[in-house]
Symmetry: C2
Amino acid sequence: MKKALQITALLGAVALLATPVAAKKIKWKLAETWPSTLTPLASPPAKVAALVSEMTNGEFVIKVEGKEKHKAPLGILDMVKGGQYKMGHSGSYYWKGKDINTVWFTSMPFGMTPSEQYSWFYYGNGMKYMAEVYDKFGIYNFPGGNTGNQMGGWFRKEINSVDDLKGLKMRIPGLAGEVMAKLGVNVTNIPGGELYTSLDRGTIDALEWVGPGMDIKMGFHKVAPYYYTGWHEPASEMQFMVNKKAFDKLPKNYQTILVTAMKAAAMDMYIENFATSVDAWEKMKTDFPNIKVKSYPKPVLKAMKSAADDVYAKYADANPKFKEIHADYMGYMKKARAWSMMMQYGYLDLNKKLAE
Amino acid sequence: MKKALQITALLGAVALLATPVAAKKIKWKLAETWPSTLTPLASPPAKVAALVSEMTNGEFVIKVEGKEKHKAPLGILDMVKGGQYKMGHSGSYYWKGKDINTVWFTSMPFGMTPSEQYSWFYYGNGMKYMAEVYDKFGIYNFPGGNTGNQMGGWFRKEINSVDDLKGLKMRIPGLAGEVMAKLGVNVTNIPGGELYTSLDRGTIDALEWVGPGMDIKMGFHKVAPYYYTGWHEPASEMQFMVNKKAFDKLPKNYQTILVTAMKAAAMDMYIENFATSVDAWEKMKTDFPNIKVKSYPKPVLKAMKSAADDVYAKYADANPKFKEIHADYMGYMKKARAWSMMMQYGYLDLNKKLAE
């Protein structure tokens, strides 16, 4: 009787102690829109996979599959929603055909800078809206790395007036594409891998991609040497999507591990893209002196700004949630910009003037 | 006999299964320079403690002690070196009396912006130099959250010329204090908690603290309403210090958990300080219309820049490692600034001109 009690007690202890060890190894797959070699866009998923595995001693493993494997760069949302992949890494504005309000979480024409946008995400209503918009897909959405202000794109010829834009065939995604369309541009979206060939063969006359860190190695400057400054994607944030059911089933500590890894990886991508752009920008001057860096003339920018306002107004009229987020976003940007002008612009301007 | 074997087998199973559970719980203490309520400076240590505990299911616990507890706000480095505290959170430039080269990891007068500095840390030689400089203290040093460009400070009276600075008693730490001293300012360093009283009683005539998010709640504007724009700390990075022996003894997964938590918490602090500054900056206009935001006249800035160059040259002459880091830092800043001007300044400038 005494012995039986001891055994029962031991069995109880075994059951209790076994829990953490016996927990089944968790194996997830993540699909990304990019080829797995396309850094820095492909860096955050690779980093999250490495960090999560290290932090869990290999008990929670995420296998990253690039578009070379799954062949569906613009099918990521559906695949995460369906659960074939528990996670995705992409750009929220690619889903504007499913819900126009996904565009708010990448970057907006004439919109917020990275500091302003992160501030809106975490201390304004950004993350709240993000959760609302992605709820219907059964997906948790998280910031996934920022490119900073993107360059306006590569053109074969100089743009001196709005007329020069008319009839131009250009690759430019998101709302910015709609802005350009209003100015008479024939807008197309072409996957990254086919861009150089399309530009070289004249399928398109112009394109925007990211910035010097990513653009130069694509070779666009060889066929389209006019490199315009940016207005259309001042703070493009990539996205991590996580299937809700899968996330909710994770042990609490793994949830925190995953969320923390995503945040650290997002920050790293911003720095990586900044650093590679710094080097590419410097190299441009010496190695590619044929590149002509240009800003659009003010009348062209004014036309773009006015067209952007029209595009915003069109969607706000048609979609009450768009109207709500638009008002919130613009209100936040206005007050945040006043501080950006003091804190960031002011400092760079002071140093610029001292150097003059 | 059979029963005895079963028990032995069970005891064996218990021993095997118990290992992860029986692993000794790790309890560390972290000392911070700030009162534990002084957000956002006190936010990163609190966040790291919470994240690490969550990620390890409470098996690795860090107890954060603010200066109200340990009473040694400027003794953190020694306490982490000695091992009384396994971690610290402070500002690297507070240790310039121990090694002048600690100043490179906070922020430099007329130096890099946050993006430039993070880029130098992670993709230039910044982290390498950080490791070298902190090695002799037996400490691993990590970025611990950035304030962004700080405001130049609160003054009782307007500064119209270099002469107006002469004889002024001002609280301004780091190399910036030495720059001000060269222009005739009587420089003192006073702990944060005593600043308001010192200013109110006339012990000092002026001070710099951080920016609107932190300054307004300190009440400085009540006695010194001239609020000058910044030049002296464009990207102040806080620091996490970790005792090397303690870190090296951690299981590998806990090392990754700690480093990842520190990185995520550092990013969060930058955003928190930006967001609180956005709100405070807006509130200033309505609630505190007596505050007069000013920029130093160009001749004053030129004198500051020239004095800063002299301070850099003085230390470079005296200290070969300072000379090496100085050359590397300035070289990196030069190329990074070209990209900042295009990417950040260019975008803000474009929008500024469109609004005119």
